[in-house]
Amino acid sequence: MDRYDAPESTPRQSAASGLRDYFIGATPLQKRLESIRKQASVLPTPPRRKILQCSRLQEDVDPQKVAFLLHKQWTLYSLTPLYKFSYTNLKEYSRLLSAFIAAEKQKGLAVEVGDDFSIKVIFSALLGMKGTERDPEALLVQILSKSQLPPQNREGKVLWTGWFCCIFGDSLLETVSEDFTCLPLFLANGAESNTAIIGTWFQKTFDCYFSPLAINAFNLSWMAAMWTACKMDHYVATTEFFWSVPCSPQSLDISYAIHPEDAKALWDSVHKTSGEVTQEEVDLFMDCLYSHFHRHFKIHLSATRLVRVSTSVASAHTDGKIKILCHKYLIGVLAYLTELAIFQIE
């Protein structure tokens, strides 16, 4: 079998080249195909990934300040780089966006008397939510309802929250020019209609493009392994997996709950190199779960589709919904999501 590998060079090629030219055509075409294929084979998943516990920058982040990011369900989108966005114009953007939203809400709707259309939009920078110094600052947008009653300084209720971030986005930062700000990951919580309006405004103002970020089963199993590997002082939730079985007429859902300490013990027995997670370890971890389930229920979970993973660190759904429960690993979770977002953009 190894004989085929050795003559990568001329002897084999010269023998086959006559035949090749006859079948495939001129060699320049083949060279072009070769270069296109090389570009297309961009590697999306390295098999090793470091688990981030706490980056130095995160120590500057006050846990109180980011507490509002936890325990909320965020819908994920990937965002192409923003053109001519500046952190100094945040007040200006707040004003413009408020006006836009007010106009949108009044357009085409019957005016309901007594309905409160007065809303306030706040843009602010989330300091410390980044992986390296090169990452741009995270941006937070909130829609608050303006309180009608005095005292005026009472903060209104938060109706919608959205934030943009870029954690360890080096691969994207290297490819864009100075005019662009890269914030590839967008997380939104709140009414879908608000998300759509804000998305439209951003797309018009900064010439960018949003697209929903779906997480496939392959990446979900990676997340499950990485989050199970995280060291926790105490576990706030059981580790749960949900699978969807494609069958007619209605799909079947299977859920599998494990005690988090058992899951961690299983992971520790599989894990070899410290500080890195490899593809083989993830596969082995999932295979152990599948074979255990098969032994009891005679169902091959590997033939079904993993749709949701829930651990004490975070929980993720294949439709692109995420809920982060632990502030210690917040940056780590966001780093992986940023990577998925960047991959989707490219």
């Binding site: 079998m1 085929y4 084999r12 090629q13 086959a16 035949l19 090749r20 079948f23 495939i24 083949q30 195909l33 070769e34 294929r37 090389k38 297309a40 084979s41 590697l43 999306p44 998943t45 390295p46 098999p47 090793r48 779906a214 997480i215 496939n216 089963a217 392959f218 199993s221 999932m286 599948y290 091959h300 590997s302 033939a303 079904t304 589709r305 993993l306 294949t318």
Partner: protein, 146 residues
Amino acid sequence: MLKEDCASELRVHLAKSLPLPSSVTRPRIDLVVFVINLHSKYSLQNVEESLRHVDASFFLGKVCFLATGAGRDSHCSVHRNTVGKLAHTYRSPLLFCDLEVDTFRASLAQRLVRMLQVCAGHVPGVSALNLLSLLRSSESPPPEEL
């Protein structure tokens, strides 16, 4: 594939896994196509199991891997590189096709029938081994060892 026009008789035998039962006499097998569904890890494991039962002489051009389901990335649980590596290990060509789409199916059927004709020796001047080296030299370099 059976809808394609072919000079001689074309027979297709479908099996969920190998080895095939030896109690039945069957005509000579010219081409083995392993279908891997990227949505299901079970499918990959099944194929890996079955590969062990294939005689080594088949790998000289008479085996081909077909990966389906790459179109719906959100449903994929097997990575493209995994099947790429598998095909590279067994020195056999890897084809991607979404079997659920009619037009793709039709063009793939044509391609497989052509391959089959070569493997059965019905095309003068080209043997299965020739075809294999042709397909390999025009492929991109193997997935990097990471």
